[in-house]
C-alpha cells in the first residue's frame, strides 16, 4: 500500500489522492454515523434518568410515615372485655393526647392538638383493642400516624418561617410538635401502610393494598382469557388456516387492533360487558375482560412471530416420519415456540397492568376503602389509584402518587424480568 502511494507517476498519484480522499470521507461518514447513534442513545438514557430521578426523589418520603407515640390509658371504666368495640374511644384518645401534652385546656387549642394526629386515631385504638382485648386495664404506648400536615412538617416540606396564615400548621402545632419531638414521641418508621392499607381520604392512612389486589385479580382474569384464546388463534392462523382473502382480512384487523387507542376498548367494555351483559361496575372481572381485549392482539402477534421463527426443517422432519400436521405442531413446533409465546404474553400483561384509560371508563377509579373480596367486588387498580391520588388535593398525596408510580414500575420490572428469565431458562434446554 505505502509503496504504491509513493509512486512518482503523476496521473497515478492523482488517482490515488482521489481514492484516499474517498476513503477519508468514508471513514468520516462512518464516525458521524456512529456518533449520531451514540447521541440518540445517550439522549434516551438521559431522559430516563431524569424521569426516574424525579419520581424517586418526590416519591421516597412516602415510604416513611411520621408517627406520634401516645400513652393510651385503657383502664377506662367504659371498656369491657366482653364487648371491646363499644367504648368511648374518642374520649380515651383525647385523654391520651392531654396526658402527653399537659396544660392544654382551651377547646380551640384542643381541637388544634387533635388535628396533629390522624382523624382516624380513635378507630385505630379501637381496632388494636378489638384485636387484643388483653390490653384492657393497662396503659399502652401506641404509635399513631401523625396527620398529613405534621407528616409534612416532619419531612421538612413546610417552611416554618412563612407567615402563620399562609401555612397549614399553626404556631401552636409547631411548638407542640417540638415538645413531642423533645420527649422522643415522634418517629418516622417505614410506611408499611402504603402497601397494606386500602385507600383512604387521609393520606397518612392511604395505601395501595386494594389497588394491588384489584390489579392482581384483573390481570388473572386477563391472563386466563387472553392467553389461551391468543395462543389458539395464533396457532390456527399460523399453522392451519388456509391462506386466502378472509385470513388476510383477519390478520390485518388483528394488527390494527394492536394500535387501537385503549380508551376505545374501555368504551367497548362499558357498552358490552356492563350495559349489555349487566356485569358489575368497577369490578376486576370487567377490568380483566377489557384488558384481555387489549392484550389479545399483542399476544397473537408475538405468538405468531414465535411460531414463524421455528425453522421449517423441524416441521418437515416431523411430517417426514409420518407425524400428522397436528402432531408436528403439538410435539415439535409448539415446544420450540413456547418461550417466545410466554414472553409475548407476559409483555402483553405488563402493558395491561399499566393501562389506565379503559379502567376509568368501567369505573375502576371509584373510591373504595377496602381490598376487593373477589373478582366481582368493586375495586381500583394500580394505575387508576395513581390517577385518583394525583387528583387529590392533600399535600401527602403528592409523594404518595410518586410512590405508587414506583410500586407500579417495580411490578412492571418484575414481570419483564420473569419474561426474560422464562425465555432464557426454556431456551437453554437444548
Amino acid at each position: 500500500m505505502t509503496d504504491t502511494i509513493k509512486d512518482p507517476g503523476f496521473e497515478a498519484s492523482a488517482a490515488l489522492g482521489d481514492a484516499q480522499r474517498r476513503i477519508r470521507r468514508r471513514y468520516a461518514a462512518e464516525r458521524r454515523f456512529k456518533f449520531f447513534g451514540l447521541a440518540a442513545i445517550l439522549a434516551a438514557v438521559g431522559v430516563l434518568v431524569v424521569l426516574l430521578f424525579t419520581i424517586v426523589s418526590s416519591g421516597y418520603p412516602a415510604f416513611f410515615q411520621t408517627r406520634i407515640a401516645l400513652d393510651v390509658d385503657l383502664r377506662d371504666p367504659t371498656l369491657e372485655q366482653a364487648d371491646p368495640a363499644k367504648a368511648n374511644y374518642r374520649k380515651i384518645f383525647d385523654d391520651a393526647l392531654a396526658a402527653s401534652l399537659p396544660g392544654i385546656t382551651d377547646t380551640k387549642e384542643l381541637r388544634e392538638l387533635r388535628a396533629m394526629v390522624t382523624a382516624a386515631a380513635p378507630y385505630l385504638i379501637r381496632d388494636r383493642v378489638v384485636d387484643d382485648p388483653s390490653l384492657i386495664g393497662r396503659e399502652v404506648r401506641m404509635e399513631l400516624p401523625a396527620s398529613d400536615r405534621i407528616d409534612q412538617l416532619q419531612k421538612g416540606e413546610i417552611d416554618r418561617n412563612v407567615a402563620p396564615d399562609r401555612r397549614i400548621v399553626t404556631d401552636n402545632q409547631i411548638a407542640w410538635y417540638d415538645r413531642l419531638d423533645a420527649d422522643g414521641r415522634i418517629s418516622a418508621p417505614f410506611n408499611s401502610g402504603l402497601f397494606f392499607n386500602a385507600d383512604s381520604r387521609f393520606p397518612e392512612l392511604a395505601g395501595l393494598w386494594g389497588a394491588i389486589v384489584g390489579s392482581f385479580y384483573a390481570l388473572m382474569v386477563c391472563f386466563f382469557l387472553s392467553f389461551p384464546i391468543g395462543i389458539a388463534a395464533a396457532i390456527y392462523l399460523e399453522e392451519f388456516a388456509p391462506k386466502n382473502r378472509w385470513t388476510d382480512l383477519i390478520e390485518v384487523n388483528i394488527n390494527n387492533l394492536a394500535a387501537v387507542p385503549s380508551i376505545v376498548f374501555g368504551l367497548l367494555g362499558l357498552a358490552v360487558y356492563i350495559q349489555t351483559f349487566g356485569l358489575p361496575r368497577s369490578a376486576p372481572l370487567v377490568g380483566g375482560m377489557t384488558l384481555a381485549l387489549m392484550a389479545l392482539p399483542t399476544i397473537i402477534i408475538a405468538s405468531r412471530a414465535a411460531l414463524k421463527s421455528v425453522p421449517p426443517s423441524v416441521r418437515e422432519a416431523a411430517l417426514g416420519v409420518g407425524a400428522s400436521h397436528q402432531q408436528a405442531v403439538l410435539h415439535h413446533v409448539l415446544p420450540l415456540a413456547m418461550p417466545g409465546m410466554l414472553t409475548g404474553a407476559i409483555i402483553g400483561l405488563a402493558q395491561a397492568l399499566g393501562e389506565t384509560a379503559p379502567l376509568l371508563l368501567i369505573g375502576m377509579n371509584a373510591f373504595i376503602t377496602s381490598a376487593p373480596e373477589g373478582i366481582t367486588a368493586p375495586s381500583t387498580a394500580l394505575p387508576t389509584q395513581i390517577y385518583i391520588w394525583a387528583d387529590s388535593p392533600e399535600r401527602g398525596f403528592v409523594s404518595r402518587t410518586s410512590a405508587a408510580i414506583i410500586v407500579l414500575l417495580g411490578f412492571l420490572v418484575c414481570m419483564n424480568a420473569v419474561a426474560i428469565y422464562l425465555r432464557k431458562r426454556l431456551e437453554v434446554r437444548w
Binding site: 426443517s313 423441524v314 416441521r315 418437515e316 411430517l319 417426514g320 409420518g322 400428522s324 402432531q327
Partner: protein
C-alpha cells in the same frame, strides 16, 4: 416460450427411450409407477407429464440443473407437497399398485411407508434416543419399552451410528457433527420401517468424508429398501445409483441404467449436462 417448446419436444422424443429399459428389466419389481405426473405451483407448471418406474431394492438417482423439478417430483412420492397450499398434482403415482393421491390413502400411513431424509440434517431438538423413538411412538409400533429400545438400537446400527453414540443416547441430537446428524436422520427414517426412503440431496451440506460414509450407507441400505436420491453431484449419482433419471425444465428427459446414462446418453441435453456444458 422457446425453452418450453424445446423441453416439450425433448419429452416427447424421450418416450421411446424410457420404454426400452423397462422392457429389459422385467425381472425386477416396480415399486413406484408414475404416469403422466404434472405439478403446478399456482400458475407455474413445474413438472410436465413425467412417466417413471422406480424399482424395488434399487437406488434411483434424480439429476438435473437447479429448478428442473427433481425435488418437486421426489416430494410428490410421499406427498410432502401437500404442505404447500398452491401446489397441485395431477397424474398417478402408484405405490405397490395404489395411487398415493387416492382419497382413501392416509397421508400419515403413506409417510410411514415412504420415509424421507432432507437436504440439511434436521434432527429434532431432543435426545438421540427420542429422535429415533418419535416415529415408532406415534405409529404405535412398539408395545413395550424394550421393543422401543430394540427399534432405536437396530435403527442406529443400520445407519452405522451405533458405535459412535451408544454411550450418549440421552444427549441432544443437535450436538452431533453434521455428518452424524444426517445419519441420525437416516436412522430416524429407518425406525418406522419404511419400504421406500427418499433422500433430497442428503450430502450437499456435508464434507467429503461424511459424504463417503453416507454413500456407503446408501449402498448397504439398498438391500432392504427402495431408495430414491436427488443429487446435484453427478459423481455421486454414478457411484450410488443403479438407475438415473435426468430432469430438465420440468421434463423427464432421460431415464436408464446409470452406466448407460453416464457413458452413452441418448439425449443431447443429458449429454450436455453430464459433460458439464450447463447445469
Amino acid at each position: 416460450m422457446n425453452l418450453q417448446e424445446s423441453g416439450r419436444d425433448a419429452a416427447s422424443a424421450d418416450a421411446g427411450h424410457t420404454a426400452a429399459p423397462a422392457a429389459l428389466a422385467d425381472t425386477r419389481t416396480v415399486k413406484i409407477e408414475c404416469r403422466d405426473v404434472n405439478v403446478y405451483y399456482g400458475e407455474a407448471h413445474a413438472l410436465k407429464g413425467v412417466d417413471l418406474d422406480i424399482y424395488e431394492n434399487e437406488v434411483t438417482a434424480f439429476i438435473g440443473p437447479s429448478g428442473c423439478g427433481k425435488s418437486t417430483f421426489l416430494r410428490c412420492l410421499n406427498r410432502m407437497n401437500d404442505t404447500i397450499d398452491t401446489c397441485r398434482v395431477k397424474g398417478s403415482i402408484n405405490l405397490d399398485g395404489v395411487d398415493v393421491y387416492n382419497r382413501a390413502v392416509d397421508v400419515v400411513q403413506l409417510r410411514a411407508k415412504v420415509g424421507m431424509v432432507f437436504q440439511k440434517p434436521n434432527p429434532f431438538p431432543k435426545s438421540i434416543y427420542d429422535n429415533i423413538a418419535y416415529g415408532p411412538r406415534i405409529h404405535g409400533q412398539a408395545r413395550t419399552k424394550a421393543d422401543l429400545d430394540e427399534i432405536v438400537l437396530t435403527s442406529l446400527e443400520k445407519a452405522g451410528l451405533l458405535d459412535e453414540v451408544h454411550d450418549r443416547l440421552d444427549q441432544p441430537g443437535t450436538g452431533l457433527s453434521s455428518g452424524q446428524q444426517q445419519r441420525l436422520c437416516i436412522a430416524r427414517a429407518i425406525a418406522v420401517s419404511p419400504e421406500v426412503i427418499l433422500m433430497d440431496e442428503p450430502c450437499s451440506a456435508l464434507d467429503p468424508i461424511a459424504t463417503a460414509r453416507i454413500e456407503e450407507l446408501i449402498d448397504e441400505l439398498r438391500g432392504n429398501y427402495t431408495i430414491v436420491i436427488v443429487t446435484h453431484n453427478m459423481q455421486q449419482a454414478a457411484r450410488v445409483s443403479q438407475r438415473t433419471a435426468f430432469f430438465h425444465l420440468g421434463n423427464l428427459i432421460e431415464v436408464d441404467e446409470t452406466e448407460q446414462v453416464f457413458t452413452s446418453p441418448k439425449n443431447e441435453h443429458t449429454q450436455g449436462y453430464i459433460t458439464g456444458r450447463y447445469g
